[in-house]
């Protein structure tokens, strides 16, 4: 556990020592703020449902920028050899890196908590729906990060890692568009694989077991695959 925390701490420090992280943070929050005020002004409702939708959409573009360097940079700079020759398990390495990114992502989400206080001040929001909505986008971001870390472990090139992430996230996020061209099991499958329907439930105040299973199993599978990916030198 100490090693997981040490790696997470190092990852977090790396974010804050890089100007990219600050730029991403400032741009993200600025864009969120603009959309928040536009949506509230337009809808005149004390709900964050549409704000969550915008956040979810923007995370598809932001998360690969945060995760592309996680393993790709280690591979490129040769520090991967250092990590892998210390008495640290591959699981601890992956979990440490995942935790570091997740904390940074949580910070971004936390910075939007003022939205709740604003709508609480001007109206009577459904508090439960706000809490579950936040849980939903946090879980979605956690899944996106797990996917980003997986693609970063495939290559020593950060650009390739980011593009691979975008491909997977676009497929997951926009898969809902293919529903109208499908029916039966295919439609059910597309609906289940796509992130859209799962996040939607959370923003409505619903915590369904199937949605939790979707996110948690997705994260778990990505972490396992990342572990296997960083071990692949052992099979060659």
């Amino acid at each position: 556990m100490n090693k997981i925390l040490a790696i997470a701490k190092k990852e977090l420090k790396t974010y804050f020592k890089s100007p990219v992280a600050y730029i991403v943070l400032i741009i993200t929050i600025s864009v969120f703020n603009i959309f928040f005020f536009l949506i509230i002004n337009e809808n005149r409702e004390a709900t964050l449902r549409d704000v969550f939708k915008v956040m979810e959409f923007l995370f598809v573009f932001i998360v690969p920028l945060l995760t592309m360097k996680i393993f790709a940079e280690e591979k490129f700079s040769g520090t991967m050899e250092f990590l892998m020759t210390t008495p640290t398990t591959n699981t601890a390495i992956v979990l440490g890196k995942y935790l570091g990114s997740l904390i940074f992502f949580t910070l971004i989400i936390a910075m939007t908590s003022s939205y709740y206080f604003i709508i609480e001040f001007f109206g009577q929001p459904d508090r439960l729906a706000v809490v579950t909505g936040y849980l939903g986008i946090w879980l979605e971001g956690a899944l996106f990060i797990a996917i980003g870390i997986l693609t970063s472990s495939w290559t020593g090139n950060q650009i390739i890692a980011a593009i691979s992430s975008y491909v997977i996230l676009f497929l997951l996020y926009f898969s809902i568009s293919f529903v109208k061209y499908s029916s039966g099991i295919t439609e059910t499958l597309i609906r289940y694989i796509g992130t859209w329907t799962h996040a939607e439930n959370f923003s409505l105040g619903l915590i369904a077991t199937s949605d939790m299973v979707y996110y948690l199993s997705g994260i778990f599978i990505c972490i396992i695959l990342t572990r296997l990916s960083i071990e692949n030198r052992l099979w060659r």
Partner: protein, 237 residues
């Protein structure tokens, strides 16, 4: 201390190491000597468990590298050819991070970091960011991380490559000061380095050991220097 038996390593269809066997006793300082691409780095990576051998076994301190990889990694300090450094960290932060990953108890963490900073002559620069350091300093930080957990075996891959003469001397002296405490394996293609540091030489050519003897024996009964001996072995095989 280290027993390697019939180590063979393939990369696809390329045979990088061919049936290599040797034994290294505790406290020995052994030099792997060979041209670039001879297989020195691959052999070192197998010893550190970073790469698995295609066939053959490596036993370190009675434990199989392939089966007890984690236990082996606790015994080993490794400096790859390019020092594995995080450029945005300070020297001290990096060494603390390395110590945590290498199971240095939390209570002893600062003591160990101070010790290696002293040993590698880095105390005055400990708060400098690694990206601002010269190549020689980076190499010393690389060595410092390798010895932070007081390993029984120290494996150094081309520890002086790319350094200027003054830096080479500094790193060489540093290695010499470390050697009395532990088994040291270093690879190089610089003959004078082996002559000054190692007691025993393994000459590796195209993935095979073509000579394995003490420096004394290799240079015995001959007017030749190590360079001539090395070239002779290369020409012979």
């Amino acid at each position: 201390m280290i027993i390697a038996r019939s180590i063979t390593k393939y990369f696809g269809g390329f045979k990088a190491l061919k049936d290599i066997s040797f034994e290294i006793n505790k406290g020995e300082i052994v030099g792997f000597l060979g041209l670039n691409g001879a297989g020195k780095t691959t052999l070192m990576r197998i010893l550190t468990s970073y790469l698995p051998a295609t066939s053959g076994t490596v036993i370190i301190g009675g434990k199989d590298v392939a089966r007890d990889s984690l236990a082996i990694r606790k015994k080993i300090g490794y400096l790859p050819e390019t020092p594995p450094l995080y450029s945005n960290m300070t020297i001290r932060d990096y060494l603390k991070f390395a110590a945590q990953l290498k199971d240095v108890p939390l209570k002893r963490l600062c003591v160990q970091v101070d010790r290696v900073l002293e040993e590698c002559n880095l105390r005055d620069s400990q708060h400098k960011t690694i990206s601002t350091l010269s190549r020689g300093y980076k190499q010393r930080v690389g060595i410092a991380q390798a010895i932070i957990n007081e390993p029984e075996v120290l494996i150094l891959d081309e520890p002086t490559s790319g350094l200027d003469p003054v830096q080479i001397l500094q790193v060489r002296n540093l290695i010499k000061n470390l050697e009395y405490k532990r088994t040291v394996i270093l690879s190089t293609h610089i003959l004078s380095e082996i002559q000054q540091i190692a007691q025993r030489v393994l000459i590796i050519k195209s993935g095979e050991i073509v000579a394995d003897d003490s420096l004394k024996n290799l240079l015995k009964d001959t007017e030749l220097n190590l360079e001539d001996v090395f070239l002779r072995f290369h020409a012979k095989n």
